[in-house]
């Protein structure tokens, strides 16, 4: 199969192995979600991520408590809340960078995290950065494939410039190219729309839609409306 058509033609099972079995679930049916789900019996085998009764505090202030969340193939969860309400902390907990004060987080699949810091070294070119990331994530993306991903995010001209010489929006686009290169079924995105132009926003929407269509799931912290189809989207509001 031609790798150029990766996103359009690949089927979910081969992309994600045994982890992700997209279910024939109607995306518009109400998803049973409440902020508190006590006494969850056990893990559903195709949950990508389950967080149970998570609590995080900063000093004496409780950011969130008894927060439970589960993600299945095709899910998109938006995390909303004012500045300082703990969105980034929650995402860092989900990806394992931050240890919550209480609660359990089960990560059943590889996840991809795009945080406030882009994860792109300023002294490397976009291609080198993505090759390094592919190297540490055991992804088998080669240079040609990375080139295609950079084309897709609109960086075909800049691919051999070091990232320090790129604009903030372009660096953000390099981070978006990671979404294409990675094979992780779970995306954890912290304000993915920051510094992007309208075109870039639409691109994020497209990527999310495609990702969910092939059985991936995503958690996004955002202040803006994600340019994506509303079906199946859940919203968690922090600090309310």
């Amino acid at each position: 199969m031609c790798r150029l058509g990766y996103l359009d033609t690949i089927d979910a099972e081969s992309a994600f192995g045994v982890y992700c079995k997209p279910r024939d679930r109607l995306r518009d049916e109400p998803v049973p979600y409440g902020p508190v789900v006590h006494g969850r019996a056990n893990l559903v085998e195709d949950d990508l991520l389950v967080a149970e009764n998570v609590r995080c505090t900063v000093g004496d202030r409780v950011l969130f408590d008894e927060l439970s969340l589960s993600l299945r193939p095709g899910d998109l969860v938006e995390i909303r809340g004012s500045n300082g309400s703990g969105k980034s902390t929650l995402l860092r907990c989900l990806v394992g960078l931050h240890e919550p004060d209480a609660g359990d987080i089960h990560r059943n699949v590889d996840s991809l995290y795009v945080g406030h810091r882009p994860g792109i070294c300023g002294r490397m070119t976009p291609i080198e950065s993505l090759r390094w990331l592919a190297g540490i994530t055991n992804s088998n993306a080669d240079t040609a494939f990375i080139g295609v991903a950079l084309d897709r995010v609109g960086l075909d001209e800049a691919r051999h410039d070091v990232c320090d010489s790129l604009s903030a929006g372009q660096q953000r686009r390099v981070a978006l190219a990671r979404l294409l290169v990675s094979a992780a079924p779970l995306w954890i995105l912290d304000e993915p729309l920051t510094a992007l132009d309208d075109d870039g926003r639409d691109l994020v929407g497209e990527l999310l839609t495609q990702h969910r269509a092939i059985g991936g799931a995503a958690v996004c912290a955002t202040h803006q409306t994600l340019p994506t189809a509303p079906g199946g989207t859940r919203t968690v509001t922090l600090g309310s």
Binding site: R92, Y113, G119, R123, M124, E128, W132
Partner: protein, 216 residues
């Protein structure tokens, strides 16, 4: 192994691209050698070269994780590199290849300038080749602990100097004994033991310290 190679190559590339940063500790070593040679003449003990190598090492290791932390590549490494051990080793190996190794290579010149004799230069180089990787590994623990605080310099030195002392003692003792023509096997073996201990333990400690540094 793949993680080690990936990280080693990446860090060499970044270091070569930011030459001025990478060359600072080496420039310190060369300048200090020249100034000491001019000021004190060729009558110093070879232990002085060990002290200079140690200071050059503290200067270098202090920033080993700083850039990665600032641009977010460090958190990506912590998330994805499973296990972390080979990736940390690759990073520190690349770091040593551009800080400790050049110092060891330049040390014969420094020895002749400062001690006025070429006796025991081979042992000096060997002791630096064994000792400086141990210094890098131990220093990386301190550097990893404070990477998120944004401070550096003297703080790392205060944290890690106590751990540097045994390495310094055996290294300086080996090179002094070699210059005087005395046996050096014990000191070199002790240095090698220190290196073996830090090779096995330090990368774990560095990984743990880095994980802690991400909690804020």
């Amino acid at each position: 192994m793949r993680l080690f190679v990936t990280q080693f190559r990446r860090d060499l590339l970044v270091a070569v691209r930011s030459r001025s940063d990478a060359a600072n500790p080496l420039a310190f070593f060369v300048l200090a050698t020249v100034l000491l040679g001019l000021g004190a003449g060729a009558q110093l003990a070879p232990g002085v070269i060990w002290v200079l190598a140690l200071f050059a090492n503290v200067l270098a290791v202090e920033g080993v994780f700083r850039r990665d932390h600032d641009d977010g590549t460090l958190e990506q490494l912590l998330i994805h590199a499973q296990p972390l051990f080979p990736a940390v080793m690759g990073k520190l190996a690349a770091h040593w290849a551009l800080s400790g190794l050049p110092v060891a290579v330049l040390s014969p010149v420094a020895a002749i300038m400062l001690t006025g004799t070429a006796n025991g230069v081979g042992v000096l180089v060997l002791s630096l080749c064994i000792g400086t990787p141990a210094l890098t590994l131990l220093g990386a623990i301190g550097s990893a602990l404070i990477v998120a605080t944004g401070r550096g310099g003297l703080l790392v030195a205060i944290l890690v100097l106590p751990f540097y002392v045994p390495v310094l003692i055996f290294g300086a003792s080996a090179s002094t004994a070699a210059m005087l023509g005395e046996p050096v096997a014990f000191q070199l073996l002790a240095l090698a033991a220190l290196l073996a201990a830090s090779l096995t333990a330090a990368p774990f400690a560095v990984g743990k310290a880095l994980a802690i540094s991400q909690e804020y």
